[in-house]
């Protein structure tokens, strides 16, 4: 158990490193201010000619003593983080002032909302524009009616377990993030609290199937998602996304675009799960500062993942003819397989297809 905790701490630290650096810088600045602040208290004692030997305990009026009420310092210059000692058995209450909260407030109320709105909204607009310009990518040879098995039942189970939990968590996360500004004006405070509380519970609960699905996906598809040299060609040509004609880079079971989706989901999902579980269990490993960092990681990654998955959903449904069959029925049309995953098609069927340089390449599904 202890080792697990240590491992989790290490993992959390590694993932949080860049943000932690910023946070630490702030804390350091705060400490520096605190050090500056300390002599302030004692300085007044030092001013006293009779008590130079006993710093600050027995103090008497000195030359710097205020002469009238307006000289009295009511508002201290802003201090950084100030920590002392408490006699009650709750160590976290020994912090008097934590200025990092202000930075986190700024993140939570401004940056996060605008960031997610721009990332997700921008992606939605980009996809809509792309759909208007490019339309659905058709199977060039038309449907043959003959199919090739692509994903078996277990693979589809793993995919949809992850997918459904992700969608539930994405929507409930958006409720908690945007509900106050978008939903309260529509539904009022009481109804919104019911929704937000349900969102919180669902968000926590669906993390379990999400992690299970994520693990299955990782184990099932890791072998087919190892990056190869051929992926570079696909990336350079953007998978033929923009060109109507062109060469056809050989793709195996998954093309580079799909591999990117795979790794973003696996790595992003794992980080989301880790940061999320640390937030579910307050003070288990992280203190307030740690939870602020975890929340930043969770929020930023969540927004990016929603944007990425939006594109994934688009190309798997209305964006490309025949693509949904792969995760829907599990079998894909022969022509779709030939056009999009020629290498994989030959491998599965054992047939050799003559190379036709007129064929287009296609993006990830």
């Amino acid at each position: 158990m202890r080792q697990l905790r240590q491992f989790l701490v290490l993992a959390a630290l590694l993932t949080a490193a860049p943000l932690l650096a910023g946070h630490l810088a702030l804390a350091q600045e705060a400490r520096a201010q605190e050090v500056q602040g300390v002599p302030k208290v004692q300085q007044l004692g030092k001013d006293t000619p009779s008590s130079t030997d006993s710093v600050g305990i027995y103090r008497e009026p000195g030359p710097n003593s205020p002469a009238n009420p307006d000289d009295v310092l009511l508002y201290q210059p802003p201090t950084g983080k100030v920590t002392g000692r408490v006699s009650i058995p709750d160590e976290k209450l020994s912090v008097i002032v934590q200025p990092e909260g202000r930075l986190w407030r700024e993140f939570r109320t401004v940056w996060l909302r605008y960031g997610i709105a721009i990332a997700v909204g921008g992606m939605a607009v980009a996809l809509a524009l792309f759909f208007l310009i490019r339309g659905t990518i058709r199977i060039e040879g038309g449907r043959t009616g003959l199919t090739v098995p692509r994903f078996n039942g277990f693979e589809r189970f793993a995919h949809w377990t992850t997918a459904v939990s992700f969608i539930v968590m994405a929507l409930t996360g958006l409720v908690v993030t945007f509900g106050r500004s978008l939903l309260i004006p529509l539904m009022g405070h009481s109804a919104h609290t019911v929704l937000a509380e349900a969102s919180k519970v669902l968000h926590n609960f669906f993390s379990v199937p999400f992690v299970i699905g994520l693990f299955l996906i990782f184990v099932l598809w890791l072998r087919d998602n190892i990056p190869e040299k051929a992926d570079w060609i696909w990336i350079k040509e953007l998978g033929g996304l923009l060109s109507k004609g062109g060469s056809h880079p050989e793709t195996g079971r998954f093309n580079a675009g799909q591999k990117i989706v795979f790794w973003s989901v696996v790595l992003g999902g794992a980080l989301l799960a880790l940061s999320g579980y640390l937030l579910i269990m307050p003070f288990f490993i992280t203190g307030i500062g740690g939870m602020q960092i975890m929340h930043v990681i969770h929020g930023v990654l969540g927004g990016l993942m929603i944007a990425a998955i939006l594109a994934h959903i688009y190309i798997g449904t209305i964006g490309m003819e025949g693509a949904f069959d792969a995760m829907g029925k599990g079998d894909v049309d022969e022509n779709w397989a030939k056009e999009h995953h020629l290498g994989w098609y030959e491998q599965v069927t054992g047939r050799r297809v003559p190379r036709n340089h007129g064929t287009r390449v296609h993006p990830a599904e």
């Binding site: 009295v72 201090t79 986190w104 407030r105 309260i184 405070h189 609290t193």
Partner: protein
């Protein structure tokens, strides 16, 4: 209208914890939660000071700004309160609060949070004043009875004061003037900034809803 504030004179606090005990007893604050606590700086070395700290009822409260369900409000007296009927126990206010004031009951084995609880300036919450239901949720409502917060009423050295901020400031200025030293009112810069009066607001003030 008076602007209610706390002022802790750290030159007077003797860390007796009477304020902490009085608060816990008056409001029957559950085990493991503290609306108020005494923090000692430079413990055991020259220059030791103790400060009694709780919710400072800020102008522009960070807790209210980050609350996803908009459950906070500020009374005309400047007291920052919240509705436990709206609170969902997310913990955001605790991340944002500079003073660590919000407290959460543990409701699951994983330490999951129940509805937030914090110092009410002995003014309880948004439901009907001085009722058993109000006491159950928010503790006693001394302000409605014309009394000041018990923590400061209990303070034996008159270190912790509660009441109209202008009056407290005058008392503190006179003290410092007479004794010739003082280190400023703890937390005032953070809580009240350069404004002495906060703006009262209700849930929904920022969203246009009621």
């Amino acid at each position: 209208m008076a602007r209610m504030k706390f002022l802790c004179d750290s030159e007077r606090c003797i860390e007796c914890n009477a304020c902490v005990t009085a608060c816990k007893n008056e409001h029957e604050v559950p085990w493991g939660m503290n609306r108020r606590r005494v923090i000692t700086l430079h413990d055991g070395v020259p220059g030791e000071r103790s400060i009694s700290m709780s919710c400072m009822h800020c102008n522009d409260p960070p807790c209210a700004a980050v609350c996803p369900v908009d459950c906070f409000y500020q009374t005309a007296d400047g007291v920052v309160l919240h509705s436990k009927e709206l609170c969902i126990g997310c913990g955001y206010c605790f991340y944002a609060c500079p003073f660590g004031a919000p407290q959460f009951p543990k409701t699951t084995n994983f330490g999951g949070r129940g509805k937030m609880d914090k110092c009410t300036f002995c003014a309880a919450g948004p439901i009907e004043d001085v009722t058993p239901a109000e006491y159950q949720s928010y503790g006693s409502n001394r302000l409605a009875e014309g009394k000041l917060p018990l923590c400061s009423e209990m303070c034996s050295t008159r270190s912790l004061m509660a009441g109209d901020g202008d009056v407290l400031a005058d008392i503190y200025r006179e003290r410092v003037l007479r004794r010739g030293y003082g280190s400023g009112a703890w937390g005032w810069t953070t809580a009240y900034g350069d404004r002495d009066q906060g703006d009262a607001f209700a849930p929904g003030a920022g969203t246009g809803a009621t």
